[in-house]
Amino acid sequence: MKHWLEGVSQLFLIAFRNLLTHSRRSLLLGGAIAGVTTLLVFLGCLSSGVKATMIESATTVATGHLNIGGFYKVTAGQSAPLVTDYKKIEEIIAKTLPDLDYLTARGRGWARLVSATDSTQVGIAGVDIAHEPRLPKVIKMEEGKLEDLAKPGSILLFESLAQKLKVKTGDSLVFSVLTDRGVNNTVDVRVCGVAKDMGMMTSFNVFIPQETLNQLYQINDSATGAILVYLKNMNHIPRDMDLLRKALTGAGYTVMDREADKVFWQKFDEVNREEWTGQKLDITTWEDEISWAMWGLKGVDGLSYLLTTILLVIIAVGIMNTLWIAIRERTREIGTLRAIGMRRRAVLTMFVMEAFCLGAMGTATGALLGSLLAVILDTLHFPMPPGAEMFLMSTTFHFALDPIRILGGASIITLCCTLVSLIPSFKAARMRPITAMSRVG
């Protein structure tokens, strides 16, 4: 083992010094590898940043870490996103989850919001602000007071929506909705405050008191839209989901089968088509509830993988080409080493090592540059162009360093460089020792 290591480290030295000897060639190729890595890491940081923004705004506006929602059907073809008699369920949750941080009930709605000049469809969260410890921590007020959301008939909206509807604190708005009974119902509300935007989701979601929402939909106060569960540790989500499912089923509730990556409003059609009536519960994760907004993120990821793949192919050709040249130049050296007793496998190792060194140094540089670029741009808070806002669900560019993603990307690129070098290296290993011999004279 020790002898093997000494041998390999000498091969490494040869490989490394050969890279240094041909500095121009190495710089060019290593630079290209670094460039691709920079791009991949940079886009990865963008994706991580967007995701972080999205999680923050989603877990504020739309979802808990886990949600116990569900559907209530009076007739087979008509469902409402309701959990009836929710206090009992809250008790079960509190008893079941060991690492529960807190839970809160929220009404869910989707209605037309009309101002003096404009109108738009918005998602509504009906909240009991006294039982929402997270909201005061994450929502930053532009004007007005968050606590005023305790008053019935108040509404909190976010900057971009307030601009769109041209309203300020104190202005009146009207909600208009078609109830289950097929009646058009309206409720007047007054703006109690305007909060700073938090990603795209806040531009079409508003908060009103739970009782105002119940009034709008004409439902009784023992019902809510969903119970949002916040955990102390997000890693326990899968385990806690199972615990809740068992506990609720055990208590006699019907719990719907899990449908990953579907938000509750994507389930209406299917629920309406089913025959049952009464209450069914549905346990979802935050990821399920915001998956519909993830397409932009998937787009960024897809784009960065596509770009990286194309560039990697180009680099692969470059590496092969460079190694061909190196092998041609060093034919005599390879022959000599074979003649004095070097095995084929060692020749292979020597050239693969050269590509590995180049790849590792290139990707390390690239990962560093990409991360640096991301960190610098993150502090500048660039606003997103209007088209990108909707696509990335964010209003400013936010970058986050995800070490696993950066290391993973760099390793894959290094691996590709190394793998592709196997082809010319095998050829070098098959070279005959006689090529070392001089045929002159």
Binding site: Q10, L13, R332, I340, A436, S438, G441
Partner: protein
Amino acid sequence: MPQHAEKTAIVSIQKVVKEYHLDKVVVPALRGVSLTVRQGDFLSIVGPSGSGKTTLLNLIGCVDTATRGTVMVDGQDTKGLNDRQLTDLRLHTLGFIFQSFNLVPVLSVFQNVEFPLLLQRKFTAAERAQRVDELLKKVGLDKHTQHRPSELSGGQRQRVAIARALVTRPKIVLADEPTANLDSVTGENIIDLMKEMNEEEKTTFIFSTHDAKVMSHANSVIRLADGKIAAGKAAAGRH
């Protein structure tokens, strides 16, 4: 063993024919060569250009195989060995000195000489250093251990090559025109050095040359012409 050493055949070649195929033309390089080399010999192969010297050395050096006939090196028929076995035979039994030195340009003098020992994987770093230093002292390069080959003169490079060929203490050292790229004085010094090693270590040397001055140092000479051994062995006699 010491008494019989002189009689032991270390290389034995029987009716060897080597043909090269160029497109459809067959080029005969060796046309029935038989030869025995004894352990401790200092043997010179001479002959005009194209007479088959390199070809013969390549066959003995296990870097090429004969078209017909047998080549026995250190008691092994090279025809029956696979690439791995031939490689190991070269590593442990043979040493090579090349006409154009063929050192690894990116390694230092010390590292070049040490390299075959690393390939053998049986010596500690201290053992390797001791052997390398000892040899570099013998070839007069103990002041140049950290130099790169490109910083040395031709004669110095060939000394490094000699040290590299001898560092594994091989039974046979093969040298194809080791002096062809050197001026005559340097060339003679190189041959003197080889001769010294031959006498001290009892290493068998087989080298080719077409320089009359160089061949005069040999204690036996084989003359090749047109792929055949010309005159009988002109033994220079042992002292």
